[in-house]
Symmetry: C2
Subunit: 200 residues, 2 copies
């Protein structure tokens, strides 16, 4: 599952004749071709030897598996720089995600307009989850507020949370939380840079 978004991403950038081989996909994704073929066989997708996979069909199969053939409704909590950046991030467009609410606790931000939506007070959250059928909530607050917001979200009946705050939030077992750590990829770059300077 971790690799499917990566394959999807690589397929989005495929151009050419509408076909892709497992080795091309593997090179782009940075894994080996046997793993690509094995992963894709779980979806029931088998490439044709010497011909490869049909790109559009494979994209559809991956999207169906990831649940991206439907639109998921997002609420973003914490409309500072990061929340505003996420609200305007054009990588979500056409990926099956629609933003249906922006929430903050800061009186100065409440009522302002961001990407044609009005920032609402966080006390509206529970009603919004029920009325607007929010599927996934995104925590984009500073570290200090993240747990409090997570508690409010859990009480509101949200079952899926994406947390950008640099802290692990504690939640009931039936709430799925994923964390985005913005420093992870920097650490991978650091590794390669470190080795290249050592001459390894």
């Amino acid at each position: 599952v971790q690799r499917l978004p990566l394959y999807l991403h690589c397929l989005d950038e495929c151009d050419g004749d509408g076909r892709v081989s497992s080795s091309e996909l593997a090179a782009q994704a940075g894994v080996n071709a046997a793993k690509v073929r094995k992963d894709l066989s779980y979806l029931g997708s088998y490439g044709v030897r010497g011909v490869g996979y049909e790109v559009e069909h494979l994209k559809f199969e991956i999207k169906r598996t990831l649940g991206l053939t439907q639109v998921w409704r997002l609420a973003i909590v914490g409309i500072g720089n990061l929340g505003t950046a996420l609200a305007s991030y054009d990588g979500f467009r056409g990926q099956g995600f629609e933003i249906v609410g922006l929430f903050d606790i800061d009186e100065d931000r409440i009522g302002t307009r961001v990407m044609e939506q009005t920032v609402e007070p966080i006390r509206n959250l529970a009603a919004a989850v029920a009325e607007r059928l929010v599927d996934i909530a995104v925590i984009a607050t500073p570290r200090e507020s993240a747990q409090e917001v997570a508690d409010v979200l859990a009480e509101s009946g949200i079952k899926s949370i994406l947390n950008f705050a640099p802290i692990v939030v504690k939640l009931p077992d039936d709430v799925e939380v994923r964390r985005v750590d913005l420093s992870t990829e920097l650490q991978v770059l650091s590794y390669h840079l470190h080795r290249s300077r050592l001459g390894v």
Copy 2:
């Protein structure tokens, strides 16, 4: 290498007696214990059966391998919402990354102060890379400007780039580029939500 930042992250959140077993670390990181032991054995770290790993020692070994025992100097290009969020992101603090320059092309932003630094025009970039010994550049521009900025960075002699723009940038082979796709984790959440609603 992909998993080392994750382990480091889990270790940062370890509390208790200063020791951690491979199965605890595996549960937190969401991989199996045998894989954790194998990964860590490459670092020359071996847990003691029934006792586990010494947390601080293991953190040091991982940091040394990732090149995080030194400080890497970052420049951020594109000081919109995302760039400002990254400049103020407190998850970088104490992780071995120091921000030494903020750059933009927008005349309205140049000269403004963000986190006690002044935003500079992008034409200063090459000189800054040479004088301030920038190790890693972060592209936080919109999609449209990312390739142009990447070209300027490559000409400035930067060898490591972290790209947040939702586009693959083309660069010479000797420049290492990592991309952060903010929708990847949303897609993983989508998968779990999709399956739980199907009752799988």
